[in-house]
Amino acid sequence: MAIGLFVECFINGLQMGMLIVLMACGLVLVLGITKIFNFAHGEFYMFGAYITFYFSYSLFKFNYGISLFFSALGAGLLGWLSYLAVFQRIRGSLLLCAAATIGMSMAFRQGALLGFGTTEKGMPSVFPGLINIAGYTFPREKIVAIALGLLALLLLFYVLKMTKVGKAMRAVSLDAETASLQGVNVNWIYGLTVAAGCALAGVAGGIMAPILAVTPHMGHRSLLLVLIVLLVGGLESLLGAILAGIGIGMVMSFGFQFFGGISEMIVFIIIGLFLISKPGGILGRVVEV
C-alpha cells in the first residue's frame, strides 16, 4: 500500500514538525523581541519533558493536561530566573550570548544527568489505541500531539496579536526606547518574553514525553534541528519558522523512510547549499548581529 505508507510518513512528519515548530517559535520569539540567542533552549524542552514524566506518571499520577500546565510553568519559571541571572546582562551581543548560553546548556544537561539519572525514562502512552480517519488508521497519540501543538501555537498567536501584553511585546521588538516612553516596562516585557519562549519549549517537552524516551540529552539533540529550521525560516519570522519546521519535519520523515540514517546528513548539506543562495532564509531578511 503505497498510499498508506505515504500517509503514515505524512503524519510522522507532521508530528515531528510540530515539535520542532514549537521549539523554534519559542526561540524566534525570544530572539525577535529581546535579541537573545538561546543555545540552552533545548534544555528547557528536556526540563519540560521530565516534569511531565514525573508529574503524570512516576511521582504523582496527575492528569496529563495538568502536568502539561506544570511543564509550561516550570520551564517558564526557570527561563525567567535565567533571564534575571544571566540573559539580562548579555542582551544584544552574539558572542556573549553564544558563550553564556552554551555554558548554561552544559551545566543544565550535566545537572539533569546527575539529578534524574542516565537511564532513558519512558512513560506509557496517555492516549493509546488507534483512530480511524477517512479509511486510514493512525495512532491516537500522534494525532493528539499534533492537536496540542496546534493549540499551543494558536494560544501564542492569540497572546501576541490580540492582547495588550502582546501589543507591548511587539512594540518593544520594534523600538524598546519608544515603547518605554509609552509606559511599557521594557525589562518586565523582556523577562516575560523569555519565560514565554521557555514555556513553549517546556510544553513541547511535555507533549513529546509519552512519545519519545526522556533522556538528559534529548534537548541537545533536537536543538540542532531547531537551529536549522531557524536559519531556513528566517531568524525573526514566526511564520517562516512554522513553514520551515513543518517542511523539515516532512523531509526528515520521508527521508528516513527511504534513505535510512544517512538522510539527516543529506538534509544538512542541502540546507547548507540553500543558505548560500538565500542567507536570510525563506521569509527573513539578513540580520546582522
Binding site: 540567542f37 544571566v86 546582562r89 548579555i90 552574539l94 558572542l95 556573549l96 553564544a98 558563550a99 553564556a100 552554551i102 555554558g103 548554561m104 546548556s105 552544559m106 551545566a107 543544565f108 544537561r109 550535566q110 545537572g111 544527568l113 546527575l114 540542532l224 537551529l227 536549522i228 531557524l230 536559519l231 531568524l235 540514517g261 544517512i262 539527516e264 546528513m265 544538512f268 548539506i269 547548507g272 547549499l273 543558505l275 548560500i276 542567507p279 536570510g280 539578513v286 540580520v287 546582522e288 548581529v289
Partner: protein, 346 residues
C-alpha cells in the same frame, strides 16, 4: 614619552617570553617533571594551538563552535594515511595540515557568506556532520574508532643522534616545536598587512569594505589558516594518543576550546589562548575526585566569565592596569589627610 615606555615594556615582555620558553625547554631534562605532568603539559600545548586557531576567527569578528571538526579531520587523515598506506609520519604530518586546509577552503567559502548568527550555527552543523560521518562510515573507524595508531618513526637529528618516540619527552619537544611554529606564523600574520586588514574588519566590517578590503576573502584566509594548524596538531594528537574515536571531536570539545579563549581573554590572540588553555587543562585534573560535576563547574565558570569578567585573565595583566590602580590608590591616600582636616574643622 609613551613610545619610550612602550619600547621598554615590549623589551620586558620579550625577556619574560624568552624566560618562559627556556624553562619549557629545560624543564623535562632536569627530571623534576613527572610523566603525568608532562602529559598534562603536552595536552595544554595541544589545547593552546586549538585555542589560538579559534581566536584567529575571533580576530576577524566571527565565532566558531566547530573548531574540533578540523582538529578531527587532521587527526583522522594522519592516522588513516599512516595505518593504511604505511608512509612515514613525517610525510603524514604536513599532509594532514594541507588536507585540512583543502577541506576547510570550500566549507569556509560556503559558510562565511552567511551573517554572524547563521555562521555560528553552521559551524556547529559542520562539526556534527563530521562526527556523524566518521561514526557511520566503517572505513573511517565507525563509532568504535581507530586503535593502534603507530608512534612517529625515529628521526635522525644532526649533532644529536636518532630521536626515538618511546617516552613522553620526544612528544613534548615535538609539541613545543609545533607550538613555536604556530605562534611564529600567527604572530607574523597578525603583524603583517593581512593582520591590519583583519583588525579593520573586526572594528567595523562596513568601513573596512569601503576601504577596499574584501571582507569575505580575508575571513576565508583566517578560517583556512586556523584550520590548517588545527589539522597539524590533530595529526600530532592522533599519534600521541594512539587511538581515536568520534566522541573526542564533538561540539563539546569545540565549546571547551571557546572556554579556553574566553578565559584567557578574547582580545589577546596568542597569550590569551595559551593562558586559558593551560588553566583549563590543569584545573579539571584537580577536580578529578568529582569528575561528574566537572561540566557543571565548567558551564558555570563560562557563564560567570561572560557575565562578570568578559575581558578574560589577560585583561588583568594589561600593562596599564597596575599603573592605573597604583595611581588611583595614591590619589585616594592623598585625599585622606584632607578629609581628616575637614572632619576636624566640622
Amino acid at each position: 614619552m609613551s613610545l619610550k615606555s612602550n619600547e621598554g615594556r615590549s623589551k620586558q615582555i620579550a625577556l619574560c617570553l624568552l624566560l618562559i620558553i627556556l624553562i619549557l625547554i629545560v624543564a623535562p631534562l632536569t627530571g623534576l617533571v613527572k610523566q603525568y605532568h608532562l602529559h598534562l603539559l603536552i595536552m595544554a600545548g595541544v589545547n593552546t594551538i586549538l585555542a589560538i586557531s579559534f581566536l584567529m576567527l575571533i580576530a576577524v569578528g566571527r565565532i566558531t563552535i566547530g573548531a574540533a571538526a578540523f582538529w578531527g579531520i587532521g587527526a583522522y587523515t594522519s592516522a588513516l594515511v599512516v595505518t593504511n598506506l604505511h608512509i612515514s609520519y613525517w610525510l603524514a604530518l604536513p599532509m594532514a595540515g594541507i588536507l585540512t586546509g583543502i577541506i576547510a577552503l570550500p566549507v569556509g567559502a560556503i559558510i562565511l557568506r552567511t551573517p554572524g548568527m547563521a555562521f555560528v550555527v553552521l559551524t556547529m552543523v559542520v562539526n556534527m556532520v563530521f562526527v556523524e560521518t566518521i561514526g557511520h562510515v566503517e572505513l573511517l573507524g565507525g563509532w568504535v574508532g581507530l586503535i593502534d595508531i603507530p608512534r612517529p618513526d625515529p628521526i635522525p637529528i644532526p649533532f644529536f643522534g636518532t630521536l626515538k618516540f618511546g617516552g613522553k619527552i620526544p612528544y613534548y619537544y615535538l609539541m613545543l616545536f609545533l607550538l613555536t611554529l604556530t605562534v611564529v606564523v600567527f604572530c607574523a600574520l597578525y603583524q603583517s598587512r593581512i593582520g591590519r586588514a583583519w583588525r579593520a574588519i573586526k572594528l567595523n566590517e562596513r568601513l573596512a569594505q569601503t576601504l577596499g578590503i574584501n571582507v569575505w576573502k580575508y575571513r576565508l584566509l583566517a578560517f583556512v589558516v586556523g584550520s590548517i594548524f588545527a589539522g597539524l596538531i590533530g595529526s600530532f594528537f592522533a599519534h600521541y594518543f594512539q587511538s581515536l574515536e568520534p566522541k573526542q571531536f564533538t561540539v563539546f570539545k569545540s565549546v571547551y576550546i571557546q572556554i579556553y579563549g574566553i578565559l584567557g581573554g578574547l582580545d589577546f590572540y596568542i597569550a590569551g589562548g595559551a593562558i586559558g588553555s593551560v588553566i583549563m587543562t590543569f584545573l579539571p585534573e584537580l577536580l578529578r575526585g568529582i569528575a561528574e560535576y566537572e561540566p557543571i563547574f565548567s558551564g558555570i565558570l563560562l557563564i560567570m566569565l561572560v557575565v562578570f569578567f568578559p575581558g578574560g585573565i589577560m585583561s588583568l595583566a594589561h600593562a596599564g592596569f597596575v599603573a592605573e590602580n597604583v595611581a588611583l590608590i595614591i590619589k585616594t591616600l592623598k585625599t585622606l589627610p584632607l578629609l581628616n582636616n575637614l572632619r576636624k574643622k566640622g
